[in-house]
């Protein structure tokens, strides 16, 4: 495993909800990254955003890992979920709420906002 792959593996393992995007949580630099931040802010669980805009080697490694060419890329509890194109229908069906409840169960974390 390269250092880059190792770094990615740790980030995915360390963050229950992880977004690889363009820009930071406070200063997103892409409309879809902003949309993803707003999406998870509405859910109210903690999430991490890792800015890879300027890091082409890491973007390449992530694309190979996920077979997904674009940013943002979302991981929930170590599993890849694509982007909000995938997550929005899951949110509407209630599937994502259940998934997040399970992902944070026993962690002592509760959402700051209740949508349902």
């Amino acid at each position: 495993m390269t250092d880059l792959q190792d770094e990615i593996a740790h980030e995915i393992a360390d963050n229950t909800i992880l977004v690889y995007g363009k820009g930071t949580k406070d200063a997103p630099r892409c409309g879809f990254t902003l949309e993803t931040i707003q999406f998870f802010s509405a859910f109210g669980y903690p999430f991490e955003v890792v800015d890879v805009l300027e890091n082409m080697p890491k973007r390449q490694a992530l694309a190979e890992l996920t077979d997904w060419p674009t940013l943002p890329k979302v991981f929930i509890k170590g599993q890849f979920y694509g982007d909000t194109d995938i997550l929005e229908p899951m949110a509407r069906s209630g599937e994502l709420g259940t998934l997040l409840e399970g992902a944070f169960a026993g962690s002592g974390v509760t959402p700051t906002i209740q949508l349902r």
Binding site: G31, F32, D67, W68, P69, T70, F80, Y81, G82, D85, I86, P89
Partner: protein, 78 residues
């Protein structure tokens, strides 16, 4: 910039019966939402459906004709 007919043509190369609708999000025809209905999506996960669409449109991504893309998919059954 790209047009709906070109996108539909690229998609139908691998998704032969694809029904394609393109929505221009910014008025510049390079930030797009594409809706694709195809029978081959049956039994395919949302992630893999998106991969299939991205793969079919990869040339237009690579040369910048499509800058940003939102994808929605469906099967003929729904």
């Amino acid at each position: 910039m790209i047009d709906e007919a070109t996108i539909a043509g690229m998609l139908r190369a691998t998704l032969p019966d694809a029904e394609v609708r393109v929505f221009d999000l910014t008025g510049t025809m390079d930030h797009l939402e594409v809706f694709v209905r195809a029978s081959v999506f049956a039994g395919v996960s949302p992630l893999d459906r998106h991969r299939m669409v991205e793969r079919a449109l990869a040339p237009a991504r690579a040369d910048g004709r499509i800058h940003a893309l939102q994808i929605r998919t469906a099967t003929p059954e729904g």
